[in-house]
Subunit: 341 residues, 2 copies
DNA sequence: TTCCTAAACTAAAGCGCATTAGTTCACCTC
DNA sequence: GAGGTGAACTAATGCGCTTTAGTTTAGGAA
């Protein structure tokens, strides 16, 4: 491996052209104060020498670091099953890079670790803002970020205390669509297999689900899981072994839904119980039977999050700080798993 | 949002303690030249003021930026279907952060864009090294990176010209296992539904597959796709409509395999033709029938890649530069899709 | 006492850029 | 021809840290 090249500096450019660094800097940054002729000479030489401003130097001089961060606290094990985060990341990523921003990405094992990462990034002045997700009960992150004064957007809000701006999903609509569809296909006793109770969006979805069902159907049973396959299986078994067995199961994401389908098949009840997933993905299509699912494009969601964060970074007290954005109206994709009964 | 706090600087620490910046710096960096007593006072105050070194300043003074990059060129559309990359990223991520390294992540639409990103990162001195993947025919990246003198590791090599160190997968073993298993279950005419021909690993796998089959079975037919579901469907249809219809189909990844299963089911041939995937994932388990697959944990793979890159960054000419590493021996997981015939 | 040495500490320069506060100089006005 | 003006350019400083090359001081040896 050859030694890392000596990269030309602004001084090199200036010296070779016989001008001051200032002039070169002005030329390169499109500021007035240099003649057109000089500007062109500088730009030409910069091109020739393959010059680019040293990122650290630029940042140190008070220019923005053009970097935002994304920390994700997940259990390593389950990770990679859900496609949600990769797609979120993809969407955010493309918006950011189209605006010249880089993305610093880190996963952690716990919220405490995540706090440490956020603190470090802020202290080191490494990022202009951050994306966070998966708000929990009594989550310390919003207050912490507010205290740090670090611009942040919550992917999948809202923040109950309104400390952080968020890009939200309208769970009300999603759940109404789902419940309506199940009702119309003849289901009467719903049950919901959900995620960990400490996640706020889990809470919200359950609330929305109950509300959508209320008045029309019996109050649905709700079971919590840690989003793992095992607990998905176990939860499903418990539900279908109960006395008043439900005739439709709604799963909080596709991983749980897949586990649920397995449990139903094993119990020979797949034909009798409808199944739906609150997250759509390739697996929902591939499965036999294919799964009815709520669809909201996580990529589009990620794009909205990134855009909001950039607006916030540009003007921390601007309008972006205030209202939460709703990324998109969720729709429902009806497939084989919820036949007319 | 409160204004971003004024972060204390080294100077602040030094002034408040009545010592020089140098002394403070020595104390904080564990260097000799300060008394134990002074060191402790500095550390205590740093803690109290919540001080951390400004990252840009540190980098500018020649310290490593403690950052590596990962650029990924993928078609946005297909992305998110395969879980491979997210898992790779996860593995790499955890190794990096455990060593204090941050990961700069960017996706691009084309190799040219990717080259531009790599060049920029190198010129700006933003990263100490990079991870690249998906080597293509006549891929310009290895030579380019070598010329830049930027440490790089190829995830999924080897690099045919040996310009870059790589973490490789033993496709020979994988394909031998697969072919052997198919043969033992009674299959005689294999076919392979593969990815784009310009990807080197696609090429290598096909070669390994052919070699594994040679002498034992008829030369397998090979069809290329762009990894999309549509082409997976089309390719499968073409294969099963041919005169000498294969009795086993091997798919290069799970997305193709899923499409293939759909095509087979539609043609009513699912019971007669065995199916296997060269990539394992949750979907292979969930599918009906569940899919026999080659397994190699992408997370472990990512860990190996990160470790190799860090060794390379630490000593660019050290032993890490030379031999390619084999991440792990692939195994085969036999499931329902390849029954005894 | 003098001289030497190591420990503890400091002054100052440098990293590569941006920016403020000038300085020159040609050109224009009255 | 004095005074004014704006364009083109430069010197010098700062960003926050690391590091080199000292300087000071206490303590020990001779």
């Amino acid at each position: 491996m050859p030694p890392r090249q000596h990269r030309p500096t602004l001084k090199d450019l200036a010296t070779r052209l016989g001008i001051s660094e200032t002039a070169a800097s002005f030329a390169l940054n499109g500021r007035p104060g240099v003649s057109e002729q000089t500007r062109e000479r500088v730009l030409a030489l910069a091109e020739e020498l393959n010059w680019a401003p040293n990122h650290a130097a630029r940042t140190l001089s008070g220019i923005t670091s053009m970097t935002v961060g994304f920390v994700l606290t997940r259990d390593v094990q389950e990770f990679g099953m859900e496609s949600f985060y990769l797609r979120l990341l993809t969407g955010a990523q493309f918006v950011l890079s189209s605006r010249g921003y880089a993305l610093l990405f880190q996963m952690t094992h716990s919220v405490d670790e995540e706090l440490a990462v956020l603190r470090r990034w802020s202290k080191e002045r490494r990022v202009e803002g951050v994306i966070i997700s998966d708000l929990r009960r009594a989550d310390p992150r919003p207050a912490f970020l507010k205290e740090l004064g670090l611009p942040a957007v919550l992917a999948g809000g809202p923040d109950p205390k309104r400390l952080l701006p968020a890009v939200t999903v309208d769970d009300g609509v999603a759940m109404r669509l789902l419940v309506e569809h199940l009702q119309q296909t003849g289901c009467r006793r719903l049950a919901y297999v959900s995620g960990p109770a400490e996640l706020l969006h889990v809470h919200r979805r359950i609330g929305a689900f109950r509300k959508a069902a209320s008045g029309v159907l019996a109050d649905p049973g709700v079971v919590h899981t840690d989003y793992s396959e095992e607990q998905g299986l176990a939860a499903t078994r418990r539900l279908i072994e109960a006395d008043d067995r439900p005739d439709a199961l709604v799963f909080d994401n596709e991983v749980l839904a897949v586990a649920g389908v397995r449990a139903l098949r094993a119990a020979g009840l797949l034909a009798e119980i409808s199944v739906a997933s609150c997250e759509d993905s390739a697996i929902c299509v591939a499965l036999q039977p294919s799964l009815t699912a709520v669809r909201r494009d996580p990529t589009v969601f990620g794009e909205a999050v990134a855009r909001k964060l950039l607006r916030l970074v540009d003007s921390p007290d601007g309008p972006a700080a205030r209202p939460d954005i709703e990324a998109q109206q969720p729709t429902i994709v009806v497939r084989e798993s919820t036949p007319q009964r």
